[in-house]
Symmetry: C2
Subunit: 324 residues, 2 copies
């Protein structure tokens, strides 16, 4: 089948990738649309050693699996888990010790004609939610994860640092939480997208030190941390959303003295994300910066690197079914 | 007066240090006993730039101040605060933006015949609590701060990493919280002190990775962090207690992927600490490793550097009053 293949930090478009042939309990999905995420770009940079098909944000139609699922349009949670390790048994299955992760760890991903996932990972997409909206379920869930981890009150001064792909979604989620929100970013056009949603924005240079109760670091690069650290007040919370290759140098004693809480945050709940998209509470379409067919996937990833481009979509196939 | 003076990373015993002459609202205290803390040793190493009298753990007798206080034996909170900055007004006065900190930031400390603190910082010591016990109020409060910041449940597997001065107190506090506690440390004699309290101990080499819900890093040095990080499970909490000079290199992406929470933890509540000491719930006396008169303070700090020595006390003067 056709797919974008990552090997030795090189991404290539190939037409000879083996189709998935999963074990019982897993289904095969015909991918219709996939989204490019900063994690894909970091994987190409070598943030984590992975060989295989890239991609983990997708919408597709079940091609092979239980009768009740075949033909349904679905999105899918990306962690395939064992249900048997201590993490799974403790209810933290996204941290399963034996997990594979779609397009990230030991499981071919979504930048392909077909992918395989456990049936239990799938969420049917309501008929009136277009592919180009549903494809945002995974990153929107990751934004919602913040509210699962940190209590955010209406009186909290909250800073989202970074107005890129993830920052945009995080800002929309926090705007709904009615806190005192401001988003700092460097690209005027990205900030304008937020201002259109009545979300306050600021130039990162103008941030007052120690003036935020909660800071969400979504810049996607290492330098974001020090700006976030300066902005958070003593006893405040700094949520870390960025993954990137290499280590971060941290003044640990200052973290202790200021009693800062750092919270790493990753995958979130698909159900609530899909509901927000389905009822129109969050419309991600203004974030779509470019669309490419699968065979132009290498160019798609290059486009996603550009600081002025937000979400890049790969249109893999026309959907075969509009029903759930 | 006589005092231990820190300047340019050199500690010296001097007899010509000016006596404190504080403004209204502050009292002068005749120090009877002071404790040496890892922070004192790190200040000498240059972890933070400070010139003046060292020391922040003390018991003393009020020599000058309001009539109701003069002659009373007291311990004192170390942050002198403004009550007017945003942090103070938000109820986080230990993070006052204008604070001075006894023997640490802009305020001469306790390794001296006399010190000055705001009257509001003082806590009278019950008559039956000896100096050598009351002097542990400040570090015990710092141990209790963990319970103010992190919910610890009886079913939680909790690791205290480091069986030194602070680790010993943290372990005793957590033992009272009835969680599944284990303390990892390298010195058999320090571990024996814990075992005598029915606290489980382990060699750090034998720790199972990712097996603790909560890890408290009390080693006092940078290397402790990576051991703590390995030991905490995904979505677990790592409490950072150590302060030391220099930066820590952190795999930030792994913190994100494992959704670890890091919590910096510093000064804690004096009232509960003093009560635990007063009712004998925690007896810190087995932790006393050596006693020195003030004029041998340089040797006292050298002794406190030794890995086999726990708390070093400076006996500054015989107490003038045993009453509260």
């Amino acid at each position: 089948m056709r797919a974008l293949w990552l090997e030795d930090r090189r991404i290539s478009y190939r037409e000879d990738v083996a189709e998935p042939d999963p074990p019982a309990g897993e289904v095969v999905i015909d991918v219709t649309c996939a989204g490019v995420c900063a994690t894909d770009l970091e994987l190409v940079r070598g943030y984590y050693s992975y060989t295989g098909v890239l991609g983990h944000e997708f919408v597709g139609v079940v091609a092979r699996g239980p009768a009740g699922l075949v033909g349904r349009r679905v999105v899918g949670e990306i962690n395939a888990v064992c249900h048997d390790c201590p993490a799974c048994r403790a209810g933290r299955s996204t941290h399963c010790e034996n997990r594979t992760v779609l397009g990230i760890v030991g499981r071919d991903g979504a930048f392909a004609e077909k992918l395989a996932l456990p049936a239990e990972n799938l969420h049917p997409v309501p008929a009136d939610v277009p592919d180009e909206v549903a494809v945002f379920t995974e990153p929107l869930a990751a934004a919602l994860e913040i509210l699962e981890q940190v209590d955010i009150h209406e009186s909290d001064r909250v800073l989202v640092l970074g107005a890129g792909r993830l920052g945009q979604l995080v800002a929309r989620v926090l705007h709904r939480a009615r806190c005192e929100l401001v988003v700092a970013g460097g690209h005027p056009e990205k900030l304008r997208l937020l201002e259109r949603e009545q979300i306050r924005t600021i130039d990162p240079e103008e941030l007052t030190p120690a003036s935020f109760d909660v800071v969400i670091e979504c810049t996607g690069h290492r330098d974001g941390f020090s700006t976030a650290r300066r902005a958070v007040r003593p006893r405040g919370t700094l949520v870390m959303k960025s993954t990137y290759a290499g280590e971060l140098a941290l003044d640990a004693s200052a973290i202790v003295v200021d009693e800062i809480t750092l919270v790493g945050s990753r995958c979130g709940p698909f159900g609530p994300a899909l509901r927000l998209l389905a009822d129109g509470a969050i419309d991600p379409r203004p974030l779509i910066g470019a669309r490419f067919p699968l065979h132009e996937g290498v160019a798609a990833l290059r486009a996603a690197e550009r600081p002025d481009v937000l979400k890049v979509l790969l249109e893999v196939a026309a959907p075969r079914s509009r029903g759930e």
